[in-house]
Structure formats: structure tokens, C-alpha cells
Symmetry: C2
Subunit: 529 residues, 2 copies
Amino acid sequence: MNEPVMPMTKRDLLSMIGTAAGASAMYMAMSSMDQAKASDFKGPPKLEGDNKGASVLILGAGVAGMTAALELSRAGYKVQVLEYNDRVGGRSWTLQGGDTYTELGGATQTCQFAPGNYINPGPWRIPWHHHGLIHYCHELGVALEPFMQVNYNAYVHNTQAFGGKPQRYRHIQADFYGHVGELLAKSVNAGALAQTVSKEDGEILLEALRSWGALDRNMRYVKGAASSGRRGYDKEPGGGLSAVPEPSDPIDVQTLLRSGLWRSIGGNLQWDHLSTIFQPVGGMGQVAKGFERAVGHMVRKNSKVTAIQQDEKGVTVSYKDTKSGAVMKASADYCLCTIPLPVLAQIEMNVSPELDAAIRAVPYSTSVKVGLEFKRRFWEQDDQIYGGITYTDLPNSQISYPSTRYGDKGPGVLLGCYVGGAAGYELTASTPAQRVEKVLEWGSQIHPQYRGEFMNGVSVAWHRVPFTLGCFGSWTEASRAEHYKNLCKFDGRILLAGEHASYYGGWQEGGITSAIDAITRLHQRVIAG
Amino acid sequence: MNEPVMPMTKRDLLSMIGTAAGASAMYMAMSSMDQAKASDFKGPPKLEGDNKGASVLILGAGVAGMTAALELSRAGYKVQVLEYNDRVGGRSWTLQGGDTYTELGGATQTCQFAPGNYINPGPWRIPWHHHGLIHYCHELGVALEPFMQVNYNAYVHNTQAFGGKPQRYRHIQADFYGHVGELLAKSVNAGALAQTVSKEDGEILLEALRSWGALDRNMRYVKGAASSGRRGYDKEPGGGLSAVPEPSDPIDVQTLLRSGLWRSIGGNLQWDHLSTIFQPVGGMGQVAKGFERAVGHMVRKNSKVTAIQQDEKGVTVSYKDTKSGAVMKASADYCLCTIPLPVLAQIEMNVSPELDAAIRAVPYSTSVKVGLEFKRRFWEQDDQIYGGITYTDLPNSQISYPSTRYGDKGPGVLLGCYVGGAAGYELTASTPAQRVEKVLEWGSQIHPQYRGEFMNGVSVAWHRVPFTLGCFGSWTEASRAEHYKNLCKFDGRILLAGEHASYYGGWQEGGITSAIDAITRLHQRVIAG
């Protein structure tokens, strides 16, 4: 991933390897290149050739804007970045003790968390295949640690199932797999699949189902060593004379199916959630800090863009210094605009009707996150839940436990709510204090310790975030077909980038890959021009 | 888990909660207590009452011996520990640069790893439900970090499948789930399960299979957005005008079944492998160091036990100082012996024929681990594998990638082999240099970078480890039935503890729970006596 793009064709390379190291090495190299195909990030862009002293004005110092600033400045471009906030990073943001945040409507929260505790209001995880972001984390000295996506001892919860009692994820998954295995084995043995699977393959399938589903010798998923070796025991193995384990009772298939709790399994099998997933040590704001070390000197903070005007020679941007109130202008040959679309739609700019329509075509997600600080990590101490996520049908949707500082004896912070849609709108309409109160009420149904251990909370309702007015762009198939290319292609001397200009909506990787795509096209135009 | 055992009955407690907080709180408390049942470790033992100044001589300063030393000394017992090695910890051990290790037969290896690199020759992971070990890690200041058990981008490899080409774990698992889902859906729709699953439940099952198996609207697992959203894309989503993803081709069901690679999935679903799993920051040797901080002053190292003699009044142990050669004696009222059975079987001791038979009844596993240091982390840089395990049918069995210091640019260490059984015997019979050479040969078939990047290697063949003569006790149902109780019960004034005296064979948790069970019985005898 860190290697430069190979300056020869694939056929050349394979031929060379084949000659030097024999067919086996060539075969392995082919395999390796097949895998390399799986990443759209091919390494940092190689912006070679004469840029003719061109200048680029970048609007927004989020990861897209800062990626562009880093690579354009390396290629010799004159770069300036304007940023609305008094910090860089945009949604790549960590809230920790002492941080103050004022939302649209004027409510101001000062985060009360103890040192070391935090929430990431925006992106919070980095899958291993977000090669662009991982590349820059490694390059910029941002240390990564595992994010615990799946915790088999966390809960899944449906208010309408099991009398509202939360269930352990491990019970639901093990039992679902066991029952699926038993039912399919029964079908194979009854000859129901004779036209689909040959007799020989059917035998292999039965063996696979037994091994995967923890079935007994009669191909049944029943209470015993096999099933408890997956879901856990009523009494675990121990030592000495009190050592013998006691198996646990699987949930019957009807109860399991009707509980609907199997819905929580598929999400953890999604491409974006497959281990290894990372988080930056110290919070996602460390990504912003890493970029800031490299390009911070090019960024003018507290600069609110009010107009973007282009002509045949260049682009001029008017902006207001949010501290002094002074209105100022900046000009460059080109403008790379990473301003989120709901904000951009309110800025005067002379672009084509097509781009203007595209900017207005993408609604933004109404995500809400609420962080709660408690006196102790009761989820670890009482429930043996170390990291991971509990899923619920309550409006808070999920509870995420910290993936770091396991066993810490001091106060701990949960992400007590991460939800969009209708529940997101309701929370957005509430005051910060009301949001915390609602999230406490919901979460208490899963963790009765909530009320007794609660210290303080902080919330970010993304539709009230002044610098984005929403969490991320929500494309549909129809809006993609009509507007996506118009959003991404050059409009005069203006190019857009950001997660909204990608197929990675809501992910920093979208911002990075879109920035690289944009500046690569910009550079091609400059050297061709 | 850190809470003291409740000094009231469960019924008392529930009644109290019910009165104070209403039925809902009581229900939640019941749920919480049900879960607490799942751990055999109930917190540290409460050794209350008059111990009459009794003394205990502990043989072996592994985690079992040191757990006993810690808790017995807290309860006021006079404790001395004899340890054969010049370090504490026993199999709880980390090999790093500069460490020297001499195996049976005389071969000496000095580990050449760069600073920060290591392997754990013995235990290497700590599941969340090993409550005893986690309790002591938290108490003794041993920091824990996630061990990456499952990495969807690691390989599964069968020399007889796919022309010997390694496959990504994510492809095998996603496709197995997809095909299982499709086949079971087909059976349901064909009415093959009508007598087992009601029509209504069958509808729910179909919905569950679609959601879990990533089936399309026709309940088929085919190339497209759903399947690529699990297994990954041929071309991943990106940004800007080069953004459109290209789906990948699932493996057909026959090829998948015949590959046998589904065998690797079940192991990751086992109770002992469910996330969250930990490793101590800095290697498993940190567990030893944590205990040493608490009980190191009670341990006499370099002390090889040669005889254990008991009479009605106490136990006298003869031991040789391995540095000076002097033969010495130590006595106490009781002896807690944690010496591994193959070593103990060679020590003269006057115990009952039943205990003597039990000591000789348990063969020890022949595990071999080989650590390889390479010039760079090619598995991260070239293959995008961050932690986790590759499984192969080659004799090395698995390759484990480091779960820490992701993205490090310096030399990296793989666990290149962890195998028992026949392959373990073969490697044990080889020299350390031959072991490394064989492991390089096998691993090169998965990672062709091996030869070019190799720096040095180190191996531990447990049957040649002088202080254990094997990796861990391998009980069978028959040997358990005949010998387990005899091994664990008091024999005069001698009690055994260690993973071999537990149902957690091969795990440190077995040593800890067996030590607690043993000293609890010892204490009951002392206060009753």
C-alpha cells in the first residue's frame, strides 16, 4: 500500500517475475496483484510534470481539504486553505473534557468528561480496507488501535422479546447458527436438495454444518458440550474439585426467530465492519491533529466563506473573519471546495445550473450521538463487556463501550446513542439536557446501573452543527444517476471534493479518495493547459 | 467481578431490590445474576478465620503458584515459593531480543528480535471470560490490549484447493454463509421443513436468511451489491469520477465445499476465541511481572526440587540450588505443588498410589511455536493484514500476525508456526535451525516475501522445555473419570494445582481457578483442624 505505483504494465511485471523466479513465484505475484485490485486507493497521487506555478484555494480543512493541501503543496502548488471553525478536522472530531461546542439555536455545551474520556461525534472507526486513511495515519504519525466492533458478550435487546430482557449476543448468534445448521442438515438428509447438491457434496455439506453449527453426532443443535462450547456455559469450567462445567440451554428455534434479534448479526458481517477495524489512540481528532502537523501552516481558521466567484482567469472567495468580523478576499487559479453541501447551498457562487442542482439534490443524514459519563465502568465490572456494541430497538439504537483503557477504575464514557432517521429528528428537536435525559431513560432498560452511576453527558445533533448542517450526504440511486457526475466534474475552475463526492458516504475514506481523484484531474488539466 | 461475594442469599437480595426499586429493577437484577453465574471465578477467595500460624510451601512460581502465594499470604499464612527457573511465570513467558533459552538436549538459542518484538511461547491470549486472570491483571497493573483473533483479510490455505493459492477468510466465510442461506431458503420454499417450522416461522426464517446470508430479492447468493457488501469488491468504492465500485464473483458452492476451507470458520466461533480477547501490552511475560511485583519476595528462584516427603506433622522438600549446586531443604505444614506432571513424575515423593497413578496418567501436548523476524511488516504493507491468524493445512498450521504496533516501519515478528500432534513431534526432533528452515519453507507458500525479508527466528518445542517437558496436560474422558479427583484431592498434607488440575487445560485460567480451589480447601482444613 505504501509502495509507489509500478511504472510498468502488469504483463511486463509478471513476465519479469516469471523469468527470474519460476512459475510458482509468478503465480503468487498474480495472487498478490489480484488482492491489490481490491483497493481503490492506489497510494498517494503522483502529480508529476510542470504545474506552471498554479495556485489552489481549498475551502474546508477537513480530511478531504487537508489531503488535497498536503499532496498539492508537495507537487509545488501554491495552496491556501480557509476553514470556518477555530480548529481543523471538520467532522473528524473528538469531544473531551473542557471542550465547548455551540450548536445552531445557540445551546452551548461544555464537555465535563474526566481526562482520557471522550466521544467521537462524527466518524469513530477505520476499517482495514480504508487504505487511504490508513496510509495517511501511518505517514502522519497517528497511532491506531483496534476498535471493538463485535463483542459476543454485549447485548442485543428487543423490547418485545424475552419480556424486554436483554440477551447476550453470543447466545443469539450461536443459537441461530446451530438452528440454521440443523434445519439445513435435515433438508439434505430428506433429499430436498438432491437436484442442487450432489450426493457427494451433500456429505461434505453435512460435515461442514456439523463443524460450523456445533451440531451433535445426530446433526442436532441441543444442550451439551458442543453448543455450550459456542454460546457459553451455565457454569464455566474451573479448577480443582469444583471444576466441572455445566452446559447451558439453547433458545428454541421458534422463540429465536420470533425475537427478531437475529437482525443484529448481519450488520457485523458487513464489509465496513469486518475486523480488523481501528480507532486512533486518543480519539478521531488525532487524525485532524496529524494532518495539522503537516498542513496546519496553510490553513486560515475562523474564516467563513460568503461567496465564491469565478471567471476565466481564476476564482475569488469572499470570507468573513469570525473573530474580527472583517470581510476579506482570497484568490487563486483554481478552487477545491470541500464545504458540506447544506452549507454550500447557502453560499453565493457562479456555477453552472447542473452543479447548482447537484448541490441541492443531496439531503444530509440526521445522526445524533450522545456521550454519557459514569462514575465507573459498570459494563466491565458488572457485565463483563469490554468494548463492542449493544443493539436495541429503543430509539437510542445502540450503546457502544469504550475500546480502550480496559479495566480502568475511574469514570468511564459510553456512546449512549447513535441514531438517525425519525428518532434522530426528535432528539435534534430537543435541548441537550433533554437528549441526555431520554438516552438515560432508554439505556436504563438495558443497564439498570445508569441512574445510580450517571455523572454528565454531551450530545451532537448533526442537523444543528453549524459547519455541516447534517451528518453526511445521503444519495439514492436516482440522485446518483442524475447528479453525481455533475457534482464531481470541473465547473469552470471549481472542483468539489468530500465524502459527499464519493461512493463512501459518511466515511473519511470518501473524503480522501474524492480529494485524490479531484486533484489528479486538476493536475492533468494544469499540465495539459 | 471485582465485587465481594454477596453475604446474603439470592432470594434475600432479590426481595430487597424488589422492595426498594420495584419489579422492573428486580427483573434486571435477576438477569444480571444469571449472567454472573456464567463465571466459575467468584472473585478472590475469602480466607477468613484463624489459620493458626500455618505455613505453606509452594512449588513452582507460575500463575497458579503465585496466585496461591498472593492469597495465602494475604490471609496471614507463612508462604515460601520454590522455583526452578531463574525467572517467575513458568509458561507465562515472553521471548524477546537478548533472551537466552536452553532446551533439553543442550541447544541454546539467543533471541535476536529488535526491541519491541516478541513471541509468547506459551499462552498468548486471554478471553474476556477468563475472569480470574483478568481480575489479577487489573489488580496487579497488567495493561491489556485486544488480541486480534479474527481477521477477515487474513488467509485460509489448503494445498489441495484453488491450486494451492491462499484465499481470503472473508471470501470463504461470506460465501459459505451465502450458500447455506440460499440452500436453506430453497428447502423452506420447497416445503421440506413444513413439519418442523410453521408457515409463519418459515416466513421469518426466510427474512432472517436474506439478511444474514446477503441474499438477493430472489433469495439467491449471487454476484452483486449484497454479496460484495460482505466479501468485498473487485474494485472498492472510491471518490470523485473514479468512484463506482465493481462487485466480485462469489465462489460456487461445489468449489467451496470441496475446498474444505470452511473448516477454519468454526474455530473462530468457539467459546475460547470469542471477542473480546486480550493480550498483555508487552507480552504475556507481563503477567509474570505483575505477580512478581506482589509476591516476588516470597520466591526462591534457581531451586530444583528433588524430593517431597511428608509425615503427620508437615512436608519437607529437598531442592538443589542450580547456581551453586548446594542441596537444601525447606519445610512447612502444607505443600501446594504446581510442578507440571511430567517433571513431578520424576521427583521422589511419598504420596498415595492413587495420586502417584494420577500424576503418571496425563500425557502432555507436544506444541511447538516458532517466531520469525522479518525486515518489514510485509503482511501489513503488501497484504493489508493487521493482526489475526492465517490457517493452513501445511505442518506449521497457522501464522499469527502481531496485534500491536500496527503500521510500524521497522522489523516485525510473526508467529510462523503453532502446531501439536505429529508435526509437533517432527519439529521437536529437529534442531532449532532446522525448525526455522522448515517453517520458512512452509510459510513461503503463503507469503512469498518470506525468503527475501527473513532476518532470524526462535523456536520453543515444549517437549524439550526442561521445566515442563510438554506444553499442557491432555486429559481424555477416561483419564478424567479415573484420575482427576485423585489428582486434585488432598494427599496427606500435599495438594496439587495448575492447569493440569483443572477443566481449563492449557489456559492460565485453569492454573488460577485450580489454585483458588486448592487453597480454599486447604484453608477450610486449617480452620477446622
